[in-house]
C-alpha cells in the first residue's frame, strides 16, 4: 500500500445509488464533459447500496466494494428506499463519516426535512436543466477535493 503523495489531488471516489439507468448515464456523461475523472461505482437499489457498503452478498469481496469518499443517493429506490439507506449509513459507526448527498428529482419539503433529520450532508434536487445538474456534480467534486481533506481510505482503493 503506497502512501498518496498529495491527498487533495486525488479525485474522490463516488458511490452512485441510482435506479434509473438513463440518469446514471447522464451523470457519468456530465462528469466526462467536465473532465471529472472521479471513479464512480454504481448500484441500482437500496439493498445493493447497503450490500456494497457493508460488503455483503455480491459485494463480499473488498476489492469489489472500495470505500467511497462520497455517496450520491437517490431517494426513490427499489427494495429499500433512499431515506432508509441514509439512516442506516448514519447510524453506522464506520460509515457515518462518508458524506452523503441526496440527489433526487423530488422537491417535496417533507423529503428534504426527512433527509436532514437523518443527517444528510447535502441535498440537491435533480435539476431538469442539464447545465445546473453538471454544475452540482462539479461543485461537489471541488468541494470535497479542494476544501476537505479526504478521510484516509487507501486500504479500500483498488489499484
Amino acid at each position: 500500500m503506497d502512501k498518496p503523495t498529495n491527498k487533495s489531488t486525488l479525485p474522490i471516489r463516488i458511490l452512485l445509488v441510482e435506479d434509473n439507468d438513463a440518469h446514471t448515464k447522464l451523470i457519468l456523461r456530465a462528469m466526462q464533459e467536465d473532465r471529472l475523472a472521479n471513479p464512480v461505482d454504481c448500484v441500482r437499489d437500496g439493498e445493493e447500496a447497503l450490500d456494497y457498503l457493508f460488503r455483503r452478498g455480491a459485494f463480499e469481496d473488498p476489492s469489489a466494494s472500495p470505500r467511497p469518499d462520497m455517496i450520491l443517493l437517490d431517494l426513490k429506490l427499489p427494495k429499500i428506499d433512499g431515506l432508509e439507506v441514509l439512516k442506516t449509513i448514519k447510524e453506522d459507526e464506520k460509515l457515518r463519516d462518508i458524506p452523503v448527498v441526496v440527489l433526487t428529482s423530488s422537491t417535496d419539503a417533507r423529503d428534504v426535512s426527512m433527509a436532514y433529520r437523518h443527517y444528510v450532508n447535502s441535498y440537491i434536487s435533480k435539476p431538469v436543466d442539464f447545465d445546473k445538474f453538471r454544475q452540482v456534480v462539479q461543485e461537489l467534486d471541488y468541494y470535497w477535493t479542494i476544501f476537505n481533506t479526504k478521510p484516509d481510505h487507501k486500504t479500500h482503493r483498488v489499484k
Binding site: D19, H23, L26, R44, K76, P78, K79, S105, D129
Partner: protein, 606 residues
C-alpha cells in the same frame, strides 16, 4: 217522619229561630203587659179617688145638713145614693159610736178606706158632727185588670204565633230551603259532580243577596273544581296515552332493587318480552351480564343526581343486542319515589355512526393513498423528463463536436425515456380505469379466459420459452371479464418475466379451497421474492429490479381489481425457488349453476 220530627231534625235552625223569637217576644209582651196593667191600675184607682173626691165635694154638705137635721132616713137614702157610685162598697156615718146610717157591707179585703169628717157651719161656727167612712172596693179594678191581662196575653200569644209562623215561612223561603239545596248539591259533589247550582228564587236586586252570593261563590268553586278535575283527568289521560303510544320504551322502575313496576307497549315490542314477563324482571336483566357495570354506574348517578342520561346495551328476548340510549329520572308518584326511564333504540344510529367513522377512515386512507400516489407519479413522470432534457443538451454538444456516435446514443436515450413515459402514462390510465366500474359482471369461464390471455402474451411466452399449465378445474366466475383478464395477464407476464437465469419458466395455474375460502393461484419457478419485499411489490411504481422492463404498475392494478371483486391478492415466495400468487375469490362471484360444475368441484376441494 212526622212534621215535628222533620222540623226538628231537618230544620234545627228554624226551630231555634222560632224558640228564640217566641221567648224574646214573650218576654217583651210580659214586660209591656205589666206596664200596661200598672197604668190601668193607676187609672182605675184614680177614678175611685175622683169618686171619693166627688163624695166629699158634692155629697158631704147635704149629708152634713141632713145630720144636722138628724134626718136619719134621709141620711140612709143619701148614703145608699152614694153607694150607687162605681166601686163604692160600704159607707157608714158615725157620730162617735153611734151609727147614723150605714149602707153596703164590708166583705172585700182589697179596699180603699176613707174617713171624712162631717162638719156643719151653724151661726158662723163650724161644728164637727160625725165621721163619714167610705170604703171603695178594688175588686172591680182587679177584675178589670185581669181581663185586660188575659186579653193582652192572648192577643199577644196569637200574634207571636202568627209572626213566628210567618217568619218560619219567610225564613224557609229565603234561607232554609236554599241552604238545604246547597247542602244537597254539595253532597253530590263526588264523581263528575252535579250541574251548576241554581236556586229556586228570584233575585231581587242585581248581585242578589247573601244566598245568591254564596251560590255564586259555590258555582265558581265548582267550576274551578271541575276545571281542576278535568285538568287532572286530562293530564292523567294524556300521560297514559303518551305512555302507551310513545315511540320510546318507558319503564317505571323501583329504586334500589331495579324491579320493573311498569313498562309500556313499546317496551314489549322492542324487547320481545310480554308485559307480564317484564314486570317480573329487573332492569339489570334487560341487558347482557357484561353490561351490568354500566347499569350499576347509571343507577349510582341516578341516586346522586336524580337523573341520568346514558347509553347501555339491552338484550332482546331472542338474544339480539340493542344499543339503547336511556334517559332516567326519579319521580314522585303519590308519595312514592320511582325511576322513570325512557329508552330509545339507537342501534341504527350507532351503526350509522360507526359506518360513518369507517367511511371517514377509509376516506382518510384514500386521501393518504392519493397523496402518495400523486407524489409517486410526480417523481416518476419527472424522471424521464430529466433524462430527455439532459440528453437533449448533451445532443447539442454532440452535434457541435460532430460526434455522431455519441449523438446516436443521446437520441436513443431520449427515445427510450419518451417511450418509458408513454408506457407510464398508459399504465396510469389503466390504473385510473380500474378505479371505475367498467363492464357489467358476466359469467366467465376461467379456462376460456386463460386461453385468451395466453394468446395475447404468446410472443412473450414463446420468447422466454415458458410453459403454462392448468393443473386443476377452474371455476366459472361472475366477474368483469375485461378486468379479470387484466389480472391474469399481469400475473402471467410477471411469472414469465422474473424467471431464473438458465431455467425455462414453468407456470402452474389452479384452484383450491382453503379454510372454506375459494382460491386461485399462479405458481412460477422464477427468482422468487424476499419476504420483506413481498408486500412492497404491490405498491405503485414499486420495482425490485429496475433493470427489467416495466413500470411497477401491473401488480398494483391486479390487486385493485381483485379487491374490487371482493377478493384478496397476495404472494407466497422464497428467493431462488419461485413465487405463488394467491387470489381469494368470494363465494358470491362463484357461479354455482348446472353449467358450473367447476364451482362445485372447487367447493368440495379441501
Amino acid at each position: 217522619m212526622s212534621w215535628r220530627e222533620a222540623f226538628r231534625s231537618r230544620s234545627p235552625l228554624s226551630r231555634r229561630l222560632i224558640v228564640w223569637t217566641v221567648l224574646f217576644s214573650s218576654a217583651i209582651t210580659l214586660v209591656l203587659t205589666l206596664f200596661q196593667l200598672y197604668r190601668d191600675y193607676r187609672l182605675d184607682v184614680s177614678v175611685i179617688e175622683s169618686h171619693l173626691a166627688q163624695i166629699e165635694k158634692v155629697h158631704l154638705p147635704t149629708i152634713a145638713e141632713s145630720l144636722w137635721a138628724t134626718d136619719q132616713s134621709r141620711l140612709q137614702l143619701q148614703l145608699e145614693g152614694i153607694l150607687q157610685l162605681g166601686d163604692m162598697h160600704f159607707i157608714e156615718l158615725r157620730e162617735g159610736d153611734y151609727v147614723w146610717a150605714r149602707a153596703g157591707w164590708l166583705e172585700s179585703t182589697s179596699v180603699i178606706r176613707r174617713q171624712i169628717p162631717v162638719s156643719y157651719v151653724h151661726e158662723g161656727r163650724r161644728q164637727i158632727l160625725g165621721t163619714l167612712t167610705v170604703v171603695a172596693t178594688l175588686d172591680g179594678v182587679y177584675r178589670h185588670l185581669l181581663n185586660r191581662a188575659v186579653t193582652i196575653l192572648v192577643s199577644n200569644a196569637i200574634k207571636t204565633f202568627l209572626v213566628a209562623l210567618f217568619m218560619l215561612l219567610i225564613f224557609h223561603r229565603l234561607v232554609t230551603r236554599h241552604l238545604r239545596r246547597i247542602g244537597d248539591w254539595l253532597a253530590r259533589q263526588e264523581g263528575d259532580g252535579p250541574p251548576p247550582l241554581t236556586l229556586d228564587k228570584t233575585t231581587s236586586k242585581p248581585g242578589g243577596d247573601e244566598i245568591d252570593a254564596l251560590a255564586d261563590t259555590l258555582n265558581k268553586f265548582r267550576d274551578g273544581q271541575a276545571q281542576a278535575l278535568v285538568t287532572a283527568a286530562t293530564k292523567q289521560q294524556r300521560y297514559a296515552s303518551l305512555f302507551d303510544n310513545a315511540n320510546d320504551m318507558i319503564y317505571i322502575v323501583e329504586p334500589g332493587s331495579g324491579r320493573i313496576l311498569d313498562a309500556n307497549r313499546r317496551a314489549s315490542e322492542e324487547t320481545g318480552y310480554t308485559h307480564n314477563e317484564l314486570l317480573g324482571m329487573t332492569v339489570k336483566q334487560l341487558g347482557p351480564p357484561e353490561a351490568e357495570p354500566e347499569a350499576e354506574a347509571a343507577m349510582r348517578q341516578l341516586g346522586e343526581a336524580g337523573s341520568a342520561v346514558f347509553e347501555r346495551t339491552h338484550r332482546r328476548k331472542d338474544g339480539a343486542l340493542i344499543h339503547a340510549e336511556v334517559s332516567s329520572r326519579v319521580i314522585d308518584v303519590e308519595g312514592r319515589k320511582v325511576i322513570e326511564s325512557f329508552v330509545r333504540d339507537i342501534t341504527e344510529r350507532k351503526q350509522s355512526e360507526e359506518e360513518r367513522a369507517r367511511l371517514f377512515q377509509a376516506l382518510e386512507l384514500r386521501n393518504r393513498e392519493m397523496e402518495s400516489f400523486v407524489y409517486t407519479i410526480s417523481h416518476d413522470l419527472k424522471s424521464p423528463l430529466i433524462t430527455i432534457n439532459g440528453f437533449a443538451q448533451l445532443l447539442a454538444k454532440d452535434l457541435e463536436r460532430n460526434d455522431k456516435e455519441r449523438g446516436r446514443e443521446s437520441i436513443e436515450e431520449i427515445r427510450k425515456a419518451a417511450e418509458g413515459m408513454q408506457q407510464l402514462i398508459e399504465d396510469l390510465l389503466l390504473l385510473s380505469r380500474t378505479g371505475q366500474v367498467q363492464g357489467e359482471p358476466e359469467d366467465v369461464d376461467l379456462h376460456a379466459l386463460l386461453g385468451d390471455v395466453q394468446a395475447r402474451c404468446a410472443s412473450h411466452i414463446e420468447r422466454e420459452r415458458a410453459t403454462i399449465r392448468v393443473v386443476s378445474q377452474l371455476p366459472r366466475l361472475h366477474v368483469d371479464r375485461l378486468r379479470f383478464s387484466q389480472v391474469l395477464q399481469n400475473l402471467l407476464d410477471n411469472g414469465v418475466k422474473f424467471h431464473r437465469e438458465g431455467l425455462d419458466p414453468v407456470l402452474e395455474i389452479g384452484a383450491e379451497r382453503t379454510n372454506g375460502e375459494a382460491r386461485l393461484y399462479v405458481r412460477d419457478n422464477g427468482i422468487g421474492i424476499e419476504k420483506r419485499y413481498q408486500e412492497k411489490i404491490f405498491g405503485l411504481f414499486e420495482r425490485l429490479d429496475t433493470g427489467r422492463e416495466g413500470t411497477g404498475v401491473g401488480l398494483t392494478i391486479a390487486r385493485r381489481i381483485v379487491e374490487q371483486h371482493g377478493g384478496r391478492l397476495w404472494v407466497e415466495s422464497e428467493p431462488g425457488r419461485g413465487s405463488t400468487f394467491w387470489l381469494s375469490i368470494p363465494d358470491s362471484v362463484i357461479v354455482d349453476d348446472s353449467a358450473g360444475k367447476a364451482a362445485r368441484d372447487i367447493r368440495t376441494l379441501r
